[in-house]
């Protein structure tokens, strides 16, 4: 019962945060409402008994990535007059909803054809650090190494892109 209540609370807050991200004009307000969505998703991961992913969502996503985005938004010192003038924002969003509705309805139909499972919290260390680590380093070792190369490449790329100074104007 409590689990259902928590699920609906987190789900409503997550959808509200995402809607706020789409509707707010200033990106800082959007980023703050997106943080609400991310924290609610972390709660949903906890309800799905994914303990490690719950912690990682809070630390990496809501912590590191979002603070990087907020830092850049503050760093660029965006005044309200620098923002793109979006007079047609509301009609565009409504039109986008109309366009995307068939996709969402199709995906919903696909979900409905699947058998429904009840997802209680499971014990026996499901989703803990040790079982996930074992799977990661036994069955997913090569993708893990490729991801490490990807992170190295993006590090070098970010330094090369943002570190240019004194080129022309």
């Amino acid at each position: 019962m409590l689990v259902n209540l928590l699920f609906y609370g987190f789900a409503v807050l997550a959808v509200l945060g995402a809607a706020g991200l789409i509707f707010f004009r200033h990106p800082m307000n959007g980023a703050m409402s997106f943080v609400v969505t991310l924290v609610c998703l972390a709660g949903l991961y906890a309800l799905l008994s994914a303990k490690l992913i719950f912690a990682l969502q809070l630390i990496v996503y809501a912590g590191a990535i979002m603070s990087l985005i907020v830092f850049i938004i503050m760093f660029l010192n965006i005044q309200p007059e620098d923002l793109p003038r979006e007079e047609t924002k509301i009609p565009y969003i409504l039109g986008g909803l109309v366009l995307v509705a068939p996709v969402g309805l199709l995906l919903g139909k696909i979900v409905k054809t699947m058998p429904n499972f009840s997802v209680d919290l499971v014990g026996n260390n499901f989703g803990g650090v040790k079982p996930v680590g074992l799977v990661l380093f036994q069955e997913w070792l090569v993708p893990f190494e490729i991801v490490s190369i990807l992170l190295l490449v993006s590090l070098v790329g970010a330094v090369v892109l943002a570190g240019k100074r004194g080129t022309g104007k």
């Binding site: 699920f7 789900a11 997550a14 959808v15 995402a18 991200l21 789409i22 990106p27 959007g30 980023a31 997106f34 969505t37 991310l38 998703l41 949903l44 991961y45 799905l48 994914a50 490690l52 992913i53 990682l56 990496v60 996503y61 990535i65 985005i69 850049i72 660029l76 965006i78 620098d82 979006e86 924002k89 969003i93 986008g96 909803l97 995307v100 995906l107 919903g108 979900v111 409905k112 699947m114 429904n116 499972f117 009840s118 997802v119 499971v122 499901f126 079982p131 996930v132 799977v135 990661l136 997913w140 993708p143 893990f144 992170l151 490449v153 993006s154 790329g157 892109l161 943002a162 240019k164």
Partner: protein, 98 residues
Amino acid sequence: MIHNYLFLSVILFCLGIVGVISRRNVFTVFMSIELMLNAANLAFIAFSRVHESMDGHVLAMMVMAVAAAEAALALAVVILLHKHKGKLDTNVFSLLKG
């Protein structure tokens, strides 16, 4: 019930698509892409819970790593474009038209 989690994932993904196609602020577009990645993550974790196997958790971790790499690169590009154009409007960033 697993259906509710998947419906929530579908809703968040559709909101992400709407944000990408209807907004012109480059930061909002970027965060909408992150929203779509998160919706996919939620579906991964939900299916992982159904099958009681840990592979979905590993994939979700990979998606997080890709999102971090993407955030670093995309924000570097945004800083560069802001330095060159002084704007945050995606309509201004049409350098690839030739």
